[in-house]
């Protein structure tokens, strides 16, 4: 079936009835209409991909980028700023070719597996402290507010060299900038401006007195090579790391724990064999049905996907969560198997633009799970799964609360 055969254009995102379950529509789309025409909240049309091979192909194609500022690119929302993907900010960091590669390698060396492993003890200590505070406040408790939301922002603030006192402001800014619908465009723009001002001052402070952090290190490299990142690029890099690394990981912590507790035999399997944490985290990343918008890509030239030729100027939405449930790529795709291996899910994208912070996210998720299993083995959901509610935001999927007891 080609795009033209769909009589009524599907609205995107597709609402899901249950917070942890995929929309039924996904199966039908993968089967019958893997290259589907959809209508975005802005009213503009885009093309939705739901099959593993198609999503992977488009994400891994270096010609295609998130650049949605082309005149004929679809707008995601009708707000003037167009949300995080359309913002001017996204043009400061080169998104293609040599320049992108250079930026990526400058920043990427901060996210190597070894560096992340070295951060483990600090992460674990932060997680333990947050859990202590949550336990002290008594049960039931919201695991998202108590642990999931603060931990990633603490970790990023640490990496950027942001003083601990400013963490809560950081957390609020990232929340406001990422949400396409929860706040008005004005509120989001105001948050963006405040955050920019803060980051400019932080970069200036690091230039004056370098510390042992990512920004200072990037500044130092810049001086060494004489062709480093501009202040604007440094600021946007900091903003980008927060926006990319906070809410995504925060929500994933809540969803991962909910999925593991939803069928408590999963939790018990981990208690019995904590060495499964690594593969369990990968499976939670794959199995997450409430992953949010997916990744948009703009086609600067014609591209063939599956049997369909997509014309130049098409905006494609890659739904990685739907692709991760493709039976053609994963045996028994709708079953959560904590031992699944290999697990080449597309949650972090694929290829040259795949998530820069994926080693960080993996490490945080593994540490959180290890600490929870050790400290609160009796953990359980305090409400039936059916009462879990999804957040309203558009970009990052998550649960508004994760009520637990222990």
């Amino acid at each position: 079936m080609s795009q033209g055969d769909v009589q009524q254009t599907l609205s995107y995102p597709i609402p899901s009835e249950a917070a942890l379950e995929p929309p039924e529509e996904w199966g039908r789309l993968r089967q019958e209409c893997p290259v589907a025409k959809v209508r975005l909240p802005s009213g503009d049309e885009a093309t939705l991909l739901t099959r593993y091979d198609d999503v992977k192909q488009v994400l891994a194609d270096p010609r295609l980028t998130r650049r949605l500022t082309a005149d004929d690119a679809a707008r995601l929302t009708d707000s003037e700023s167009g949300g995080v993907f359309n913002s001017e900010m996204s043009n400061v960091i080169p998104d293609r070719g040599e320049e992108h590669l250079r930026w990526r390698r400058l920043v990427g060396k901060w996210f190597t597996a070894k560096r992340m492993a070295a951060l483990r003890p600090r992460m674990a200590a932060m997680a333990e402290q947050l859990l202590d505070e949550m336990v002290e406040r008594g049960q039931p408790a919201d695991l998202k507010a108590g642990l999931g939301f603060p931990l990633p922002v603490y970790v990023i603030c640490d990496m950027l060299g942001v003083p601990a006192d400013d963490r809560d402001r950081f957390s609020r800014w990232s929340d406001m900038m990422l949400t396409l619908t929860r706040y008005t465009g004005e509120e989001a723009s105001a948050a963006q401006l405040e955050f920019f001002t803060y980051m400019s001052e932080l970069v200036a402070a690091k230039r004056a007195a370098p510390g042992d952090d990512l920004l200072s290190e990037l500044i130092k490299e810049s001086e060494g090579e004489g062709e480093g990142l501009s202040d604007m690029q440094l600021i946007v890099t900091g903003v980008g790391l927060l926006v990319a690394g906070h809410e995504t990981t925060a929500n994933m912590i809540g969803k991962m724990v909910s999925m593991l507790l939803d069928d408590r035999t999963r939790w018990e399997e981990l208690l019995a064999d904590p060495s499964l944490v690594r593969t369990a985290v990968e499976e939670a990343l794959r199995f997450d049905a409430n992953a949010g918008f997916g990744l948009p890509r703009y086609l600067p030239e014609e591209v063939e996907v599956g049997d369909t030729v997509l014309p130049r100027g098409t905006t494609v939405i890659c739904n990685m969560a739907a692709a991760n449930r493709d039976d053609g790529a994963f045996d028994d795709a709708d079953h959560m198997d904590l031992r699944r291996s290999p697990n080449p899910h597309l949650t972090f994208g694929s290829g040259a633009h795949s998530c820069l912070g994926q080693a960080l996210a993996r490490t945080e998720l593994q540490v959180v799970l290890e600490v929870l299993l050790r400290r609160l083995p009796t953990l359980e959901l305090a409400v039936p799964t059916g009462e879990l509610r999804q957040v309203d935001g558009l970009v990052v999927g998550g649960l508004s609360e994760v009520p637990v007891r222990w």
């Binding site: 390698r105 990427g108 060396k109 795949s354 080693a359």
Partner: protein, 65 residues
């Protein structure tokens, strides 16, 4: 088994290093893959195949000999 890597395809995700640190490392200069052992011993073949399967850049090639 013969392992090879294509640095240009590497995106520095670090999955291979997490899985088989005996065979893969990342350069401290840019986070790009460094192959430590092109002919790993048999007990590492499983994890090496997994690393190749999950590499988001498709940068690892495994030739079974």
């Amino acid at each position: 088994m013969r392992v090879s890597v294509e640095e240009a395809r590497c995106c520095g995700a670090g999955q291979c290093v997490l899985l088989v640190p005996e065979v893969f490392d990342q350069s401290v200069d840019d986070g790009i893959v460094v192959l430590l052992d092109a002919t790993p011993p048999e007990e590492l073949h499983g994890p090496v195949r997994e690393a190749a399967a999950v590499c988001p850049g498709g940068a690892i090639d495994v030739e079974e000999t």
